[in-house]
Amino acid sequence: MNRFLIPGAMLVLALVYPLLVQSLPVYERLGALVLLGAIGASAWNIVGGYAGQVSVGHAVFFGFGAYSAVVVYTHLGWPPIAGAPIGMALSVLLAAAIGVPTLRLSGHYFSMATIAVGELVRVLSSTSEFLGGAQGLGGPAIPRTVFDLSFLSATPFYYIFLAVLVLLLWLTWAIERGRMGYYLRAIKDSERAARSLGVSAGKYKLYAYMLSGAFTSLAGSLYLCMFGFVDPESGFGILISVKMVVMAALGGAGQLFGPLVGALILVPLEELSNSLLGGKGAGLTFVVYGAIIVIIARFLPSGLLSLLGRRKVTRAD
């Protein structure tokens, strides 16, 4: 029962958080943003953390989700959330299309290929009239039905994001404990050794990539529902990909709660420096981001949770 204590307490705290900050819209919004960041980073974690395939192009899926949501509104008049399952389905197909050639590449080569694919999609999206070109597309300005998900406060989004995050973490947990989790860890440690023991490395890496892509796409659709706007930079920009990697790495890549811990630190930091420093803050935020990444890589290459992990291992002995 003990191992459910901390996650359980965290869930209870997450459920009552909006009640605690009820009269403070800034904090309601912040809570929702942390959860959204955690969804993106946890989705990345499946392929980047558990399988050890460091994708720096996950914005492709995020952008697909965001654009799917806005396109069904612009071109079909549907509520944006209806685009979410379409985006997820397309992202699974896209993941297969990208993954089959690129997942053969190892280490840095895979990372570089994903950057190139990400940039390719970003450039193409900014030339596509269907996607609104460089200006991007906006969702419904005036809500028509409740399905347009236009709320006065961020709290409904908070609960939607929380539900998605809980589902995603539960799924990750199930994978981690199951056969696939063992395969992915074996591939991460040594793909050659895993193959020689009969693990179909290519197949499981691709499954992880497709699942990861689907949930990243869902994060993109949810982002669009909340913000109502997407352009090539906020959908497919390389910084979107970088944020997912950094949140997961800060908390601990390949650990269930690593991305959530990373999001809990980085999202408030980003919001704080943006609001404190105004327009100039946007640049400085990423200076801080860069410095944090360098420091993690240099001093804490396995993330913050590795500090706890070390203690746990000694206790188990």
Binding site: G48, G52, V54, V56, P101, T102, R104, L105, G107, H108, Y109, S111, M112, A113, I115, A116, V117, E119, L120, V123, L124, T127, I238, V242, V245, V246, A249, A253, K280, G283, L284, T285, F286, V287, Y289, G290, A291, I292, I293, V294, I295, I296, A297, R298, P301, S302
Partner: protein
């Protein structure tokens, strides 16, 4: 062949020589230490800003800017090696990627914060405008960049393959422990590689600044070009980077001319993915 087409190919070759120069630094480090410097494009960007600063503060042209940029970026390279790269090399791969990626973000947005987001350009007159030769039109700045790019890339290749220092560096890349037993200090050689790579990258930046806009985010585009060039040419091969740089320069110019300027990046990225797919070791790399 029409004269326009010849003009396009010649400009492509001149551009390609510069690509070769700024990619040679990346390939040198990769070949020697198996580390990818994701901040490479931002090193080029800072080389460009050094040229801009030399011009705005001192009114100096490329002949003043090139040595300044070479020294500044070489120092940056050596400092990055001792403070960061040396330590992350032993860590997991994610930490290696994150380390130089974090450095890239840091440098890019520090430049954004310090210099502002506006594009800066140097005046054409700095390198004598343009001239016509054999019916082809040349810009002085591009000819200078192309010629120096070619010369310095060849010089780098020569140092690595024909000198004692080059042999020592090669020895460290083959087997650092064995090299150490032969009386070579691996860390010193690796720091030297970062210094040489930084100098070449800084020079490339100072030369590009004469005909390309300088902005804090220009490094992102240039880094991807350098990755394409290096993976095309073969990791660790300076000569490969030269050949690949020239090919990519021509492909880019031709696709801008034949298909349209917007698609030249698209075609280069597609080329990149194709190279990684069919020949991951590149034209001249070892399998």
């Amino acid at each position: 062949m029409s004269l326009t087409l010849v003009q396009v190919i010649v400009s492509g070759l001149l551009l390609g020589a510069v690509y070769a120069l700024f990619s040679s630094g990346l390939t040198l480090i990769w070949g020697m230490m198996n580390v990818v410097n994701f901040a490479h494009g931002d090193f080029v960007m800072l080389g460009m800003y050094s040229a801009v600063m030399v011009w705005t503060a001192l009114g100096g042209g490329p002949f003043a800017a090139v040595p300044v940029a070479a020294m500044l970026i070489a120092t940056l390279g050596i400092a990055s090696y001792f403070l960061l790269v040396r330590h992350i090399m032993k860590g997991p791969m994610l930490a290696q990627i994150l380390g130089t990626f974090g450095l890239a973000l840091f440098l890019r947005y520090a430049a954004f914060w310090y210099f502002g987001a506006n594009f800066k350009t140097l005046p054409d007159t700095l390198v004598g405008g343009s001239f016509v030769f054999m019916g082809l039109r040349f810009e002085g700045s591009r000819v200078l960049a192309g010629a120096m790019g070619l010369a310095i890339t060849l010089l780098l290749h020569f140092i690595l393959t024909r000198t004692a220092v080059g042999s020592r560096m090669l020895a460290v890349s083959e087997d650092a422990t064995a090299a150490q037993l032969m009386g070579i200090r691996p860390q010193r050689m690796q720091a030297l590689a970062w210094g040489m790579a930084g100098a070449a990258t800084g020079i490339a930046g100072a030369l590009i600044a004469n005909f390309f806009y300088t902005s804090p985010t220009v490094g992102e585009t240039l880094a991807i070009l350098a990755f394409v060039t290096v993976s095309f040419g073969g990791f660790g091969s300076v000569l490969g980077a030269l050949v690949a740089g020239l090919i990519i320069g021509v492909v880019e110019s031709l696709s801008a001319y034949l298909v349209g300027p917007v698609y030249k990046d698209v075609i280069v990225y597609v080329l990149f993915v194709l190279v990684l797919w069919f020949r991951p070791q590149g034209l001249m790399g070892k399998a």
